[in-house]
């Protein structure tokens, strides 16, 4: 790599020149920042300004560029210099747009700008242009676990985009649940009639596809490695094991129906009570003719009980709604009506949930004479010729009953998501040096594992809620916590076949993207394209395991000596490991303990008599930093005593930054991160929580330094909080003024 040559460019446009002493900023960059080349420009982001920088890079051999102008979020197209390392000093959104107007504020405004230039220059000294993980991988085959409708779809769609696919299916035949259906709910206009499932055609296409390899009667015995270099052991029922080299994984392991034996009050277990799957079996047997009960009697009347064991508020059954069951019952009622319009079919529901075009399907059933009754079933008893369903008719407001030859319970979907990692953690720690029973428990638990990941953090994907392997994010349904592994279909959330095939197609895309990213050494969402990766200096490592435990993505394993093993392709570049490391041996080329530490140290701390406190703000780049930027955009004034540093996540904040800051005379530190709790906002899962936990631990250190605990504070900031964030700052600064200057001033 060429020798480092630094340059700083100071813009005087957008009012910067009117409000700030640009010459002084230049001098600071030159003298204090020790920048080789310092230039200013009246309009840095125009083509002329950009060309000036480009020329310096090309002709002067500049390798490191500090842009002192607007926020790092602004003018990214103009300031795009992919061959050099770059820092941005935010003078516009961070200084002139937020410091109060008027000459009485000139001094503090200039001081703020001076510091940001110092910080930009100081950071520049420590950043390197990320070169990308040299350990790139080239395996682009996609493993699809599960050969049902979702799995087949994922496999076929990925193969059609040119990728090799391996399917592992537990059963002897492709098709899964869909094989057991007589017909499916319509998935395109006119949404009026049950349709062929199409599974046979799809299974045939998959079986004969030149890019798809199918393992039947097989399960995944082990998944080792990382995106782009997974090694998957496929175990056949016979015991034979095949190794497959895999780039990314789609887990489409589907669902199991809720056991109707758990619903005796609704007739579960009675001869003439079936679930929807049971009804499909009767319909397949009837093959378009009259449906008959198990005892051979032709069914003349049928009642469908919706939400059987679902939407349960008692805690005994499923709390959620499986979404597909209203349409499924409608479809099944049509099986009867289509065979014989005189059959009485009643659907007993509380809310008929057929969103979207399902409304047309509902109408179609009504036209066929299916009766819909809003009511709540209280019991199903066996009667002479069938069943007696007792219910409250909610419209007619009366307790009543219906006799039927057959009752169908619309039960819910239970995901086949493998091992629950929370329970697993507990089992592992109990088994670790524990009793035989505890060890037995652990190995029993592992039996239901789907992926058998050889990850330190457990053998399957983390589950979200009710055992579904879903994403926590609304905008990002495929944002999983296991990079390169995507759940699709009813294992992700309860869904119907239409949604499952859409979902599988989306998951296939994400798998393709994962292998492409891995092959280039790039990060996956949300820091997509990031070429930096964690670099560890193992010689300094104390094997404390914090990084392996705290990594939200299970990217770090441990070797036999308990040293961390980084799997960069699993890493999402949040820096949680860096924040966790007590000996500071983990860093990224462009984000490290030093890049931030140097900025903290670069700030000039006025003495205790100046009445100018200094507050360090560490702001999450996802929500808090944009909120601060937007405070600028809306010209919301906040104190000029703060110095803000964006961080990848509060989870990446190393406590050394805090203690260094306070040691060097800052009066306080504000940490701004995302919302915690069940509805957490952190894309790295626990950033705010970890930061809070770590800061809790430095309380003693603060006390030892003779500092009040209030000198470190944390805030949950949403991206829309541009006004609130200014309020937080102003209130905190006022509180610090009240408290008096830090006793550490002058010792730093």
């Amino acid at each position: 790599m060429a020798e480092m040559k630094t340059a700083a460019y100071i813009c005087s446009g957008c009012g910067l020149g009117d409000k700030l002493d640009i010459a002084q900023l230049g001098k600071i960059a030159q003298n204090e920042g020790k920048i080789a080349l310092v230039r200013d420009h009246a309009f840095l982001c125009n083509s002329e300004g950009v060309q000036m920088i480009r020329d310096d890079i090309e002709k002067e051999g500049v390798t490191h560029v500090c842009i002192a102008a607007c926020s790092r979020r602004a003018k990214t197209e103009a300031f795009h210099f992919p061959t050099v390392a770059m820092t941005r000093a935010n003078l516009r959104e961070g200084v002139i747009w937020v410091v109060a107007e008027g000459s009485e504020h000139d001094e503090v405004r200039q001081e703020m700008a001076d510091d940001y230039v110092r910080m930009g220059c100081a950071e520049l000294k420590k950043v390197k242009l990320p070169q990308g993980n040299p350990n790139t991988t080239l395996q682009k085959r996609i493993l699809v676990v599960g050969g049902g409708m979702s799995g087949l779809t994922a496999a076929f769609e990925a193969a059609e985009a040119g990728y090799e696919v391996v399917i592992v299916e537990k059963q002897a035949r492709l098709g899964g649940w869909a094989n057991k259906l007589w017909k499916r709910v319509p998935f395109k206009a006119p949404y009026a009639e049950p349709q062929d499932t199409g599974v046979a055609v799809l299974a045939a296409k998959v079986s004969t596809h030149p890019r798809i390899k199918v393992h039947l009667n097989s399960t995944v015995a082990e998944t080792a490695g990382a995106p782009g270099r997974f090694v998957v052991k496929v175990a056949q029922e016979s015991g034979a094991v095949t190794e497959e080299a895999i780039g990314a994984i789609v887990q489409a392991t589907g669902f199991t129906t809720y056991d109707i034996a758990k619903l005796p009050e609704l007739g579960g277990g009675q001869a003439n009570v079936v679930d929807q799957a049971g009804l499909e079996a009767l319909a397949q047997a009837a093959n378009g003719g009259a449906l008959k009960r198990a005892d051979g009697k032709e069914i003349k009347s049928v009642v469908f009980l919706q939400c059987a064991g679902q939407r349960d508020e008692t805690g005994q059954h499923l709390a959620y709604c499986s979404g597909h069951c209203c349409a499924t019952s409608i479809k099944q009622a049509m099986y009867f009506k289509d065979a014989n319009p005189d059959i009485d079919t009643v659907v007993l529901y509380t809310d008929l949930r057929v969103p979207g075009m399902g409304e047309d399907f509902y109408r179609s059933a009504q036209e066929k004479g299916v009766i819909f009754t809003k009511g709540k079933a209280s019991g199903v008893e066996a009667a002479v010729n069938g069943c007696k369903v007792s219910f409250k008719d909610l419209i007619l407001d009366e307790d009543t009953s219906l006799d039927a030859d057959l009752v169908v319970l619309a039960t819910g979907q239970v995901p086949n998501a493998g091992v629950n990692l929370d329970a697993w953690d507990k089992a592992v720690s109990e088994a670790d040096g524990g009793s035989e029973a505890a060890k037995q428990n652990k190995s029993e638990m592992q039996k239901i594992s789907i992926l058998n990941l050889s990850y330190r953090q457990g053998p399957d994907m983390p589950q979200f809620k009710y055992g579904f392997a879903d994403s926590h994010f609304i905008c990002f349904p495929y944002e999983t916590r296991r990079t390169g592994i995507y759940a699709a279909g009813p294992v992700r959330r309860p869904m119907d076949m239409l949604q499952a095939t859409e979902d599988a197609t989306g998951a296939a895309l994400k798998a393709i993207q994962a292998v492409e990213n891995a092959s280039l050494g790039r990060a996956a969402h949300p820091r997509s394209g990031d070429l930096s990766y964690p670099i560890v200096r193992l010689e300094g490592c104390t094997q404390c395991k914090r990084c392996t435990v705290e990594c939200p993505f299970g990217a770090i394993d441990e070797d036999e000596k308990r040293f961390p093993v980084f799997n960069e392709q699993r890493c999402r570049r949040c820096g949680t490991c860096m924040g966790a490391c007590p000996v500071r041996v983990i860093s990224f080329e462009n984000y490290s303990v030093d890049t931030v530490g140097n900025q903290i140290k670069a700030v000039e701390i006025p003495d205790e008599f100046s009445e100018k406190p200094r507050v360090l703000i560490l702001a999450c780049e996802n929500d808090a930093y944009p909120a601060l930027d937007m405070a600028g955009l809306s010209r919301t004034v906040y104190s000029a005593f703060v110095r803000i540093i964006p961080v990848r996540c509060l989870g990446s904040v190393n406590t050394i930054w805090i203690t260094d800051a306070l040691n060097s005379g800052y009066d306080g530190v504000m940490m701004m991160g995302c919302k915690k709790g069940d509805d957490y906002q952190c894309h790295f899962v626990k950033g705010s929580e970890l930061a809070g936990y770590r800061m809790g631990k430095i309380g003693d250190t603060l006390t030892g330094m003779g500092l009040e605990p209030e000198r470190v504070s944390s805030y949950e900031v949403a991206i829309t909080d541009n006004e609130r964030v200014a309020k937080f700052i102003n209130e905190y600064v006022a509180q610090l003024v009240e408290m008096g200057p830090s006793p550490m001033k002058g010792f730093g």
Partner: protein, 206 residues
């Protein structure tokens, strides 16, 4: 109408099917989704013991006696609010008329229900000559509950009658003849034929 009762006997257990066959626009009843917009749209809503949507549910639940003996559908003013608001485009006004007619015809409609009586008088009045004789119709209405009550009604309403006469909008001479169609006989035969066709189609003995 005893033969009609027999004719529908095989529908006993499936009142909805009976309604579909015998009630004007009855085949729409199954399409109701119980939103209740009809119930809230009726100007005489307060007077309904069973709202239209509830009647539809009762039909599906097989409550034959209750539906046909209900006086609710006789409260219909034919304002058509329910029709234009129904999200399923059910011709509710027509179904109400149809139910009322069917109940009336089966003799199950409430005895002495005022609108039922008015409707009967009105039809008989118009069917006689082809055109309505407003005076005779009014008098018939006042006397529908007997002579004494009729005189009382007449006295109570005499202000209105005299007012209209003064305004030349009620002609006492109508009592002696009044407007009528020339082809009275043709109209009689035509109506009789229409009835016959309708009964034939609905499977009544005729």
């Amino acid at each position: 109408m005893s033969e009609n009762r027999q004719a529908i006997a095989h529908y006993r257990n499936n009142f909805l099917k009976e309604v579909e066959v015998h009630v004007e626009d009855g085949e729409w009843v199954k399409m109701c989704m119980q939103c209740g917009v009809c119930a809230g749209s009726c100007p005489l809503g307060n007077a309904w013991q069973h709202t239209p949507q509830k009647l539809f549910m009762m039909i599906r639940a097989g409550k034959r006696e209750e539906v046909l003996s209900s006086d609710s559908m006789w409260m219909c003013t034919s304002c058509y609010n329910c029709i234009v608001r129904c999200p399923r485009k059910l011709p509710i006004t027509h179904i109400m008329h149809g139910l009322a007619h069917y109940a009336h015809r089966l003799g199950m409609a409430p005895k002495g229900q005022p609108t039922r009586e008015v409707a009967r008088l009105f039809w008989n009045n118009l069917a006689k000559t082809g055109r309505v004789n407003e005076l005779k119709f009014s008098l018939a209405m006042y006397f529908k509950d007997g002579f004494i009550q009729g005189i009382k009604n007449l006295l109570a309403m005499q202000g209105i009658g005299i007012g209209l006469m003064k305004a030349k909008r009620l002609n006492p001479m109508e009592l002696l003849g009044g407007h009528k169609c020339k082809d009275k006989d043709g109209i009689h035969k035509m109506i009789a034929k229409a009835r016959e066709i309708e009964e034939r189609k609905q499977g009544y003995a005729s």
